[in-house]
């Protein structure tokens, strides 16, 4: 019998009558990096939830170092040396980064928390693994990317020897992903074992030894990554061929839809967006590239009315919208897929149908004379679930019970189906499987082709390069350059994003 660090045997997990995992077995060796691949809702997070003590298997057993164990809570898992980075962040917004990292594992000196030691330990780790985090910032003030790094740091700080990463790269920039891949390699080289969930085949090819492919709660295959092509992986996972090319028609780009002039936004008195100018035309997708935290979030929030504009104007088709409030701005024709799907995009304890009408519940057909029409709401829900392939049991299921990628699809469905004049999409395909990415990209391009304007913000340079008609680069709250995606590469874009003088600047 071979020695495994982790062995999951015939695991089944039922939610009600629904089998999210159906007789899954997998093994993890010492020093190995094992990838888990599967569509949204295939059951990856559920499976890992059982390995980290969050969920209890309905059937089957888990062995750690060849011993059957039962884990009732994450503490049990931690004792067994298992550390997990969850798909959805488990951070306390009001606490500082430092407090979040040490929470539950505080170093003490004479019964008091030794913050000095904690900070220096963390800084040491940050240096070793090149993780850029600001330990003193409050979590509610940091970007999604930084939150992801904090989550990774939490796992490193806890000195596990079995690491589970559930889609850690969904919210990271390419440079950060490279860095993260190095961290994975270093962890494995130190004799730790890693399970890594991602929808990005490139990453699997780059770092994983083996890959377990899951579809609809069942293991389809386990393959040696070195011997398997990306396309084969994609096909195994989706069960059909995936088409990566997109069709962009010629469009008329003469009409200005969005004009942002001299925009200034401050957060806690610090300037985050400075004298920014930006226009988006009809029939055009403008990509905003930039290193995380350079004012992209504040720009979106200011345009959509969630953050106060200090100075400057926002004009949609000639109408001034600055500081009008979110409802008026959305009614004027701006839709937005927000960065943070769980805290902003959705109300998790509401049903899928209610979330799908979250921006239109106040008007016909969802409501009339102040009364909600649930028959209509649920009908809209069923229809969007179908057309956007949201994998769920019914429109009355709670959004919080959906898999991460399917939660994202709910938001995308709501925003795109509203057909806004301007669609702002921040990481629209975050955590979405390749089949669904294909679909969402098609939909975004369809918006463009039908004469709507799209402002795309994404960590994925490939996504920006593929979809955009024009790319602007944002650095320290300003647009520092503009570039034609047809005549550039990710390398050149990367340099511009880092604030280096751009080559071949056009605007």
């Amino acid at each position: 019998m071979e020695d495994y660090v982790v062995e999951m045997r015939h695991i089944t997990k039922q939610f009600g009558s629904y089998k999210a995992n159906n007789d899954i077995s997998l093994q993890l060796r010492k020093g190995e990096i094992l990838a888990l691949l599967g569509e949204n809702g295939a059951g990856k997070s559920t499976l890992m939830g059982m390995l980290s003590g969050l969920l209890e298997p309905t059937e089957g057993e888990i062995l750690i170092n060849n011993k059957v164990v039962r884990m009732d809570n994450p503490r049990d898992a931690k004792r067994l040396g298992i550390g997990m980075v969850h798909q959805h962040f488990m951070l306390i917004p009001a606490f500082s980064v430092l407090e979040n990292i040490i929470l539950g594992d505080e170093p003490t000196k004479a019964t008091r928390i030794d913050y000095k030691k904690a900070a220096s330990d963390i800084e040491e780790l940050a240096e070793k693994y090149h993780l850029d985090i600001d330990v003193h910032a409050k979590v509610r003030d940091i970007t999604v990317g930084m939150q992801q790094r904090v989550e990774i740091m939490k796992a490193l700080y806890r000195k596990a020897n079995i690491f589970i990463f559930d889609e850690p790269t969904a919210a990271l920039t390419p440079q950060e992903i490279d860095q993260f891949i190095k961290i994975l390699r270093a962890l494995a080289a130190e004799g730790n074992s890693v399970i890594f969930i991602t929808h990005k085949l490139k990453e699997i090819k780059e770092v994983a030894d083996r890959c377990v492919v899951i579809r609809m709660g069942k293991v389809i295959e386990t393959v040696q990554v070195a011997e398997t092509k990306e396309e084969t992986l994609a096909e195994m996972m989706v069960g059909r061929k995936v088409n990566f090319a997109v069709e962009k028609e010629e469009t008329d780009k003469t009409k200005t839809v969005l004009a942002v002039n001299d925009l200034n936004v401050e957060v806690h008195g610090l300037p985050k967006v400075k004298d920014l100018n930006l226009t988006v035309h009809s029939g055009e997708i403008v990509g905003v590239a930039g290193v995380d935290g350079n004012g992209q979030s504040e720009l979106i929030e200011a345009i959509t009315g969630l953050r106060k504009i200090k100075k400057g104007t926002v004009e949609l088709k000639g109408k001034f919208l600055q500081n009008l409030g979110a409802r008026k701005i959305s009614e004027a024709g701006i839709g937005c897929i927000p960065e943070d799907r769980q805290n902003v995009g959705l109300i998790l304890p509401f049903t899928i149908a209610e979330n799908l009408v979250l921006k239109s519940y106040h008007k016909k057909p969802a409501s009339q004379h102040g009364l909600l029409n649930y028959k209509k709401i649920n009908e809209i829900g069923r229809q969007l679930i179908k057309s956007f392939d949201i994998r769920s049991q019914s429109e009355k299921e709670l959004a919080g019970d959906l898999s991460g990628g399917n939660q994202q699809k709910v938001i995308v469905a709501r925003e795109i189906s509203a057909n806004p004049d301007l669609l702002i999409a921040a990481n629209p395909t975050r955590g979405v499987d390749i089949g669904a990415i294909e679909y969402i990209h098609e939909k975004i391009i369809e918006q463009r082709n039908t004469g709507h304007a799209v402002l795309l913000i994404s960590f994925e340079l490939d996504e920006i390069l593929k979809l955009s008609d024009r790319i602007v680069v944002m650095h320290e709250g300003q647009i520092v350059g503009e570039i034609d995606p047809r005549h550039t590469s990710s390398e050149e874009l990367g340099l511009m994003m880092a604030g280096k003088t751009p080559i071949g600047q056009e605007g």
Partner: protein
Amino acid sequence: MHTKSLKGLTIPLISVLAGFIVGAILMLIFGYDPIQNYQNLLKGSLGGIYSIGETLRNMISLILTALGFAVASKAGFFNIGGPGQYLIGWFGAIVFTLKFSHLPAVILIIGALLCGALAGGLWSMIAGVLRAYFGTSEVITTIMLNYIILYLVNFAVKSWLASKGSDSSPNITTKANLNTPFLQHITDNSTFNWGFFIALAVVGLVWFYFKKTKSGFEIQAVGLNESASQYAGVNVKRTIIIAMLISGLLAGLGGAIDGLGNFENISVSNNLPNVGYNGMAVALLAAGNPIGIIFSALLFSALQIGGLSISVYSNTPSEIVDIVIASIIFFVGIKYAFELMTKKGWLKRKNKVVKGGAEK
């Protein structure tokens, strides 16, 4: 609105049972007969037409203050202002009735109830405005508002309503009394009054409000996720204020009904009316569910009314009932522990594998 009601019933039922058991154990320890006392309790609260009338009447303000508390909690607020809002509602109704006693009965009653409810709503809205615009914690402001209104009402009663040397306002005209001769007649002269039916109707309204209306939807959205609500275009500030307004309206209506149906006047008092606090407990036991509040109010009311007769029929101090009530609240409070235990399977162990950390 999305709770699975059957599963939701286990916790309150366990809590109530546990509360009674604690009470029984205490009685045994101190040498009283629990079975006898619980029988007396039942008899005293539901054993006859008169006691049923009293129990139902006592439910009215419990239901309304509980609904008020529940509405605020749906928006994510802990409104401790129930006692103050109830008091100002009571005061408002009495003042209206005294000042407009020439009006025909129906108009007088409707006016008085509206006046009381509105007074409660506006009073509570102060906390809502402070919360919405300045982020002031409603826990603190509602407590302060409670004391402010206690002394204001005392001052107004003494210096304005009461005749010299008296501590109470005059009684309201009998035509405004909700405890009509007809009801007295069929309930053996109990204080049961029309307010009971008003309270039941309001339960239906609140249920409908959260289930079907846009405004109720917004309150729940804000309570569950403020940033998402703001993003969705909900006017969060306005919603907070509306929630506090409705919350206070309901508690105020409770005070107004008690004023017209039970007290018939208003007196200077050293303490805030307890019912405001009991309403919180009723709402907690019902987990904020409007229909659940009816049953939870019935239980609390029966305990209170029945408790009065415990010491009549035996030498058991009636405070034992307070202990039972307090224990129930305590067990509701630790319901999260129960929930956790049921979820984690500690209450129904079947697996035989070694628990937790098998060592490396």
